[in-house]
Structures are given as C-alpha cells and as structure tokens.
C-alpha cells in the first residue's frame, strides 16, 4: 500500500461522504468568523430560515475594520461601525462566541486561534480570509473561503469540495544568521510564482522548518496563499505539543495524552507521493524584499531592480512594467537607495510576540529616522499585553514608534491606518498589491528585523551588517 501524506490523513479523517466523483462532503472542526466577510452570509441564513448548525464550533472576532488608536473614542467610520455592530448582533442572535472590541482576547483571527490553543493538529479549519493557511503550522488543514462558503459552513458545518493536489516544499539546510522565516517564504513565492501552488496544498518540511518555533512556522504557512496554495501545513512535533500544552482550549489531563498520541500519527509517510515537489536551499538565502506589486516580485537586499524585459511572457512583462511605474522605480536601481516614508510592523504574518521581540532587539537604543513615521500594531490584545510586560512598548515608543491596539491595520488599510498616495512603506505584512495599504501607496514586504532596521536608517539596509543583540 502506498503511503499517505499528512494532508491525505486529515482529509480522510474528515471525509463524510462522496457526493459524486469530484465532490466530497468534508467536516469542518472550526469556523473562524470576522466582521468583513460574514454579514451577507448571516443575512442569507435569515432569508432562508436556516440556523447555525454548531455554534460551539464557531468563533468570531473583530480585526479587519477596527481602529488601532484610542478605542475609548469608539469607531468613527460609520460603515466599519455598522459592520462591527452587525457582527455583534449576528453572534448574539445565532449563539456564537465573540471576542469583541473590548474583550481581552480580541485580535487578528489567525493570531488568536493559536494563542488560545483552539487551533490544534489534525483539525479542519476555515475562515472567510485567505490567510487562514496560518493555522496549518500546527498540522491542521486550514484554508480561506468566500462568503457563500461561510454561509455553507455556518448552516452545515461542512464544505462540499473537490480534493486538492499536494505539493511538497522541502527546505534544505538551516537559516543563516540574520535570515528569517519571512525571507524564506518570500523566496519560495518568488520561486513558484503567485499561481504556482494553485490547486495544491503545500506541506513544508526539512531541517530549517524542523528548527523553527511555532510562530516562525505560522509566518511560513500564512503566506502559502501568496504562492497560490489555499493551504500550507507542517507536521506537528514536540515543538507543536510544547506550544499547545496548558493553552486555554488545549486538551487537559488524560485527554492531553490521548491527543498527543493521535497527533503523533500526523506526518507524511516516507513513501507518500506528492503531486509536485520543490526544493529550496536555506543556506543560500539573503534578506528578501518585494520590489513590485505582487508578492513574487522579490529581490535580495543587494540586488538591483529588474527590467521588465527580463520577463519572457508578455502578460508578465506588462505586469512588471506597470509595477515599475506604480512603484516609481527604474531598472538597475539599488533598493537600498530608496527613501522610505513609513514602516509598519504587524499583521497575521508578523504580528506575534516573537516578531515584536525581534524588531525591538534592533530598535533598542536607536531613534526612528527623521521624516519617517513608524508604527507597531500587535497581532492581538494579549500579544500587546505580553509585549508591555516585557517592556517592548517602551523600546518602540522611546525610539519614536507609534504603539497601537491590536488589529489588521495597515496590512490592508480597511481602518484609518493607510498610506498617503506616493508614500513608500517597509511592511511586515503579506501583500504589496497596488493600493493595498492605501490608494497610491507603495509597499515593500520585509521581515520584522529588516523593517525595524529600515525605520532607524530611513532606507533598507542589510540586517546582517547591523550590530545588535538578538532577542
């Protein structure tokens, strides 16, 4: 018998029935809900007289549209206010647990699940948000869905879907000094392209992955969608179990031992066959930066801005030409020469406590460059609290950073945190599309360390040449 992949095992464990040759009914263990992609789904439940099948398997929070400045002032944007109130009302009507605006557990939906121990190995997890892949770091099958599917999961606790293919991304060697998981995932996306993972679930493996903390692994899985894959996953191990132990919703006492023994079976068998395999050498990596307007347009700190004529395909050439123009760049320019206006540290990619510690280690004792605005937005209210207990907030504030409340913030600019037209930003987020952080804004994706160093210098520098004590 041929071996099974980690994905195959979880798929089989959740397969309820084959509806036809391509369509399978899959049970969903956890449905995460936020204010932006759910109101129409709840409305449709009401119109069709449907109930939420299992409210106890559903968790809601507010993150996308919530302001990150003084929350006591309320939500000024009338549309965001209405949307958040709609979620509050819907959760009450349908009996769903909500970590709301003033809840100490509020935060970005992909930060709070792991933080509470609600995200566990072997689960199926969905959310109306493409960065749901983050939860795959625990060896769960987690992916983003649209609003029609949000309604489907609310009403049935299942999805009717075809089985995706599998892709193995094997990372050879270890990450070198100054090289972060963000540099690695940006390189992977450059290698496979923004559509390279389409139709596939990625499993990341190899020495560098094994050596990573859970938070690092979340950064990797989080950006699977930027490589086109709906889900990315990593087999659970001792690191996973140690992270989960004693978390609020993690199994307790005898259940813990049972759970660990079941979780320990969740790995790809040695003879498992993947539909696609790619390898990447971690030891060759340099600090990565996005230069263009999609996350596969990546160069290293010491590279020059590419020429659109370097692209073979006409549509890619068009896209690169447009990107150069939008980003106000010329081929051959050095990326370290660009003057930065803003720095954003946060998001579901890089807004967890380790990210803030790593950035603070660089910022410590320095000042933000003149004429540059920098902000830190913790991924959750608990991350914020933890950072404050460790004094990280003071390090940032003393350097001239803005220290904010938790939310998605300038990763997508749905709240008041946006770039002005023409502003150039070093951002630890996940997308550099045109206008993503504000109409006319220019985004360069980097690691928290690179963003912190850029805030101090006013331009990008090679983090390996920066003297600091590691967190």
């Amino acid at each position: 018998m041929v071996g099974k992949t980690l994905f195959d095992k979880i798929w089989e464990q959740h397969h309820i029935k084959s509806i036809d040759a391509d369509t399978n009914l899959l049970f969903i263990d956890l449905h995460l809900v936020h204010e932006v992609t759910s109101p129409q789904a709840f409305d449709s439940l009401r119109i069709n007289n449907r109930l939420v099948k299992y409210p106890e398997l559903t968790l809601a929070t507010v993150d996308h549209g919530i302001p990150t400045s003084n929350r006591a002032l309320g939500i000024k944007d009338p549309l965001s206010k209405k949307q958040i109130e709609a979620l509050e009302h819907n959760c009450e009507e349908f009996g769903i647990t909500l970590f709301g605006v003033n809840d100490s557990r509020q935060g970005i939906v992909h930060v709070i699940g792991p933080e509470q121990g609600i995200t566990q190995p072997g689960m199926t997890i969905v959310c109306g948000d493409s960065h749901t892949a983050t939860h795959g770091a625990f060896g769960s099958l987690a992916f983003g869905i649209g609003t029609s599917e949000v309604e489907h999961v609310l009403a049935t606790q299942t999805l009717a879907m075809s089985k995706p293919k599998t892709m193995k991304v094997e990372v050879l060697g270890e990450l070198q000094n100054g090289i972060t998981p963000k540099d690695l995932i940006l390189r992977i996306i450059k290698k496979i392209g923004t559509g390279g993972g389409a139709g596939h679930v990625i499993e990341y493996s190899g020495e560098a992955i094994n050596g990573m903390s859970m938070e690092n692994r979340m950064t990797i899985c989080n950006m699977s969608i930027e490589g086109g894959a709906r889900a990315g996953m990593i087999a659970p191990d001792e690191t996973t179990f140690n992270y989960l132990k004693n978390k609020n919703y993690a199994p307790k006492k005898s259940s813990w031992d049972q759970a660990v023994s079941a979780w320990s079976e969740l790995y790809s068998d040695e003879d498992a066959i993947f539909d696609k395999t790619i390898q990447i050498n971690a030891e060759e990596l340099e600090p990565s930066i996005s230069w263009g307007t999609n996350p596969s347009q990546i160069i290293s700190i010491n590279d020059k801005i590419p020429d659109s004529n370097d692209y073979l395909n006409e549509a890619d050439r068009e896209a690169a030409k447009r990107a150069l123009d939008y980003m106000d760049l010329s081929p051959g320019q050095k990326i370290s020469e660009l003057k930065l206006d803003r720095v954003f540290i946060g998001s579901c990619t890089n807004g967890r406590i380790e990210d803030l510690r790593n950035a603070a280690a660089i910022v410590k004792g320095h000042k933000v460059a003149k004429n540059l605005e920098a902000m830190v937005v913790p991924g959750s209210t608990l991350v914020k609290k933890q950072a404050e207990e460790e004094g990280l907030d003071l390090i940032f504030k003393n350097a001239g950073f803005d220290w904010r409340e938790a939310g998605c913030s300038m990763c997508l600019g749905m709240n008041p945190d946006i770039l002005a037209p023409g502003e150039r930003c070093a951002s630890t987020s996940n997308r550099n599309y045109e206008g993503r952080q504000g109409v006319g804004g220019r985004t360069h994706l980097v690691s928290p360390e690179m963003a912190a160093a850029a805030a101090i210098h006013g331009h990008f520098i090679d983090i390996r040449e920066f003297n600091y004590e590691k967190a």
């Binding site: 049935t156 006409e314 896209a319």
Partner: protein, 196 residues
Amino acid sequence: MKKLNNFNSTMLPLKMSNIDTDQIMPKQFLKRVERSGYGQYLFHDWKKEKEFPLNNKIYSKAKVLIAGTNFGTGSSREHAPWGLQDWGFDAIISSKFADIFKLNSINIGLVPIETTEDNMNLLFRKVTSNPNTEIKISINDKSVTCEELEFDFVIDDFSQNRILNGIDKIDISLEYSDMIEDFKYNRSSWLPKLTD
C-alpha cells in the same frame, strides 16, 4: 445563484497577469454589509485611467471577460466576483484562476473558464483586431466557440449542474444532515468547543 446555459457575447480584454482581488474590488467597498450593488465599484482605482477597457463603450455589452493568467489572485473576498457579475459578466476566460476566486465565482454562477495560453493569445488577438468579435459559451456542452476557434473546458458535473439549474449548494449538503450529526458525535472528545 445565477442560472446559465448557452450564451453569445462580445469580450472585454484585460491582458495582464496576476490581477488581484484588491484591484477587482478595493477594500473600502468591503465595509458594506449588503450583498448587491458592487458593479459600480468594480476596478474602482484602475477605472480612473481613461484608457482602461472598462471605460471603453465598445466593450460595454461584453458578458465575457478575457484576462491574463492567474486571475483573481490574493484575498478571498467574494465581493470581487459579486462586482464582476453585477457589472454584467457571466464568464471569465483565463489560462489560470486563483483557487478561492474560482470557487467563489462558481458559487454565484459566474463561470471561470480555463484554457491554454495559445487559445488565450488567439482570443486577445481576435478582440484587438475586432472588438465586436462574438464568442459562444455553452455550459451544457462545456464548450467555447469563437469564429474558427473551438475548445472544451473543464467544470465538474456537480458545479455544472448547479449552474445549469441555479441550485444552492447548501440545500444539497443539508440532505446529509444525519450523516453530519453522526460524524460530529463520533469526533475525538478533546476537540475545542467554544460554548458548552
């Protein structure tokens, strides 16, 4: 969901790869709680450029969008297909679609049709030389015809049947309620529950 079968139309070309859902439906319109009326916001920022094809009256009746590869990449916002459908599109043809976008589109009866780069180049050439070129799409036969060019496309029977008959997927899945309940009952006891 919208019911569709065979239709003829002109085409609107967007010859760029990796068009993301942030462009198709910018975030400021995601604050709305309504399900309808997104067509006016479609490609809101790109529409500010005069020469953008959506501004060209010659394409105003096109029900078919032809686009560069990896169309709909990025955010899972279903607001993107809502906007495209509300604008008047019934089908999109590209050499590749982003996964979530593709599923979202099928779920509302906006048909994503994947074909080869060669066929895409032919379609782009036809529409550039004559914007009135007609294309015929048959959901029933899973086929596309444009002058001498004919090709079949792949859509699973389940989705095809839903689009042909406008069937809501939830009703189908709810027929298995007993099986879903049995499944839930037999799950591992340690799995997280948000309420008792």
